[in-house]
């Protein structure tokens, strides 16, 4: 009897060990592949990032010079996209969570919002091209791209805001309303301040997607290497520039330098976001 029990225990601990090994191995693959990719890009790219690269405009299609106008273009497009998407997304989340509790209309809208999140970006690009660029006559411009990207990041923003609205206790709403506050005052002065870090998280996720987007931007912003002056000018984002450099084989150095800078930018945004959201949380 005890022999059997011992055997069973032994078998159990072997099984345990095997599973532990497999899980650990799979986790290691995730981590290692990430390190290898990021490391490879950084090793190849960092050494070519210098002041000249950052401050000069591209020459000869990007073969020489820097990527100053491209960096500015990227920031420009992202800002325009977020400026459009944030109020719309936050308002939609407030509507879903505070006003239209439940109901068929809301669940239908939510269903489509979720579908929106899964649509390939090239489809957004095609729509943006057909609608903003051609139909509305905005041409290839920061505005067309910003509008297209704002639709892409909307689901993320709505979801993140809604999740954080849900964590605000009902008692805060009751407390505010019982003092004679209107629903609107309650939302603006009590509920939204509680959601700062949640909304910010959504924003950062959105910015991450906007900064890295290639296909949709290429179709709506175009590929001009000139520094954009207004939102009606065409420009080029870093991701598009990277695609051009790589696919045309213009310059290996500049390609990796651009890629490395893109990674650093995303890292920087995420770190800043973490920092700010921790600050807001306290």
């Amino acid at each position: 009897m005890t022999e059997k029990l011992k055997q069973r225990n032994q078998y159990k601990s072997i099984k345990n060990g095997v599973f532990y090994g497999i899980i650990g191995f799979l986790a290691a693959i995730t981590l290692i592949s990430l390190i290898v990719i990021v490391g490879y890009i950084l090793i190849n790219g960092l050494s070519h990032i210098n002041w000249e690269f950052l401050s000069q405009e591209p020459r000869r299609m990007g073969k020489e010079g820097g990527i100053f106008s491209v960096i500015i273009g990227t920031i420009y497009i992202t800002i325009v996209a977020m400026v459009i998407a944030t109020p719309v997304g936050v308002a939609a989340a407030i509507y879903f969570n505070e006003y239209a509790k439940g109901g068929k209309v809301v669940s239908t809208i939510r269903f489509f919002t979720e579908i929106l999140a899964g649509i390939p970006s090239i489809i957004f690009g095609l729509f943006g091209f057909a609608f903003f660029v051609v139909f509305l006559g905005m041409g290839w411009s920061v505005l067309s791209g910003g509008l297209t990207l704002s639709m892409m990041v909307l689901p993320t923003l709505v979801r993140a805001t809604e999740e954080s609205l849900k964590t605000v206790p009902m008692t805060y709403r009751e407390g505010s309303l019982s003092l004679g506050a209107s629903k609107w005052q309650t939302i603006i002065k009590v509920i939204l301040p509680c959601c700062k870090s949640g909304i910010l998280t959504g924003l950062i996720l959105g910015i991450g997607r906007a900064v890295g987007e290639t296909a949709a931007v290429m179709l709506t912003v175009g590929g001009s290497l000139k520094l954009p002056n207004t939102i009606f000018d065409s420009t080029r984002s870093m991701a598009v520039h990277l695609y051009m450099l790589a696919s045309e084989g213009l310059s290996r150095e500049k390609t990796y330098a651009t890629a490395a800078l893109l990674i650093l930018m995303v890292l920087l945004i995420n770190t800043a976001a973490n920092f700010i959201s921790r600050r807001l949380g306290n």
Partner: protein
């Protein structure tokens, strides 16, 4: 006869007539008739689920927040039906404040919690706001404890202090009535007795309606008591009368602890 005459001389703040309330198909309040007198403390007692909290929340229309609530009958406040079509809900809630079961200060500073109400009603003058903060905190006997940390988060206070802060926040909009939904049930005995002392001093200026689970508390603090059972008011009278000589057998059974 003596008691009856004194009751009749009192000013009625609320008159509740034929009040029925449904949550969907469930009837939570049945034909409630009740008078609530000015500057008196009215206690609502009864076992869990008897409808006393629901009733309390009809007085400032807090039940409006819940989906599927249907209300019949009427409640007049200073002579006007608060469920009437044109009744100004915001004005009602400004005059009828509420303190909740669990202290619910906003995640803001002590100062910001108190000036929240006055600010939304349009008060901007810094000196006036400062005055309100000191006055209300003194009224709830919290001033000495917190005057050096008015701009620190309210969530750092103890439970009892938080509840007194919530009362101060409620007083800051200068209500005429304060509704209290088991305000001491989440507090320890020391904090509870402080709140009870506070109720006594507040009743000079305010009409108070308090829901309580604690019968001794009802006996200690209130002038009038209403006993609720399964959505009905079984008996309403002066507190001494209810506790010494209840008219109804069920009331007697409840206050002597035979059920509930």
């Amino acid at each position: 006869m003596q008691i009856k005459e004194t009751i009749e001389s009192l000013e009625k703040k609320f008159e509740v007539r034929d009040l029925n309330l449904f949550y969907g198909s469930f009837q939570a309040l049945k034909n409630i008739d009740m008078d609530i007198y000015e500057n008196k403390i009215t206690a609502l007692i009864g076992p869990s689920g008897c409808g006393k909290s629901t009733f309390l929340r009809t007085l400032n229309r807090m039940n409006d927040l819940i989906n599927g609530v249907k209300i019949e009958g009427h409640i007049t406040f200073d002579g006007k039906n608060i469920y009437g079509k044109d009744y100004d809900l915001i004005a009602l809630r400004k005059k009828v404040g509420m303190v909740f079961q669990k202290p619910n200060p906003f995640p803001k500073s002590i100062y910001e919690n108190i000036v929240y109400g006055p600010k939304i009603h349009g008060e901007k003058n810094r000196d006036v706001l400062d005055g309100i903060v000191e006055r209300t905190l003194r009224e709830v006997a919290l001033w000495e404890e917190v005057k050096d940390r008015l701009h620190r988060p309210a969530t750092g206070l103890s439970g009892g202090q938080q509840q007194r802060l919530c009362i101060a926040r409620c007083l800051a909009v200068e209500p005429e009535v304060i509704l209290m939904d088991e305000p001491t049930s989440a507090l320890d005995p020391v904090a509870t007795s402080k709140i009870e002392e506070l109720l006594n001093t507040l009743s000079d200026k305010y009409t108070i309606v308090i829901v309580t689970h604690n019968m001794q508390q009802a006996g200690r603090v209130s002038d009038f008591t209403s006993f609720f059972l399964s959505g009905k008011v079984i008996e309403s009278d002066k507190t001494e009368k209810i506790f010494s000589n209840p008219a109804n057998k069920k009331t007697e059974d409840y206050i002597t602890g035979r059920f509930g």
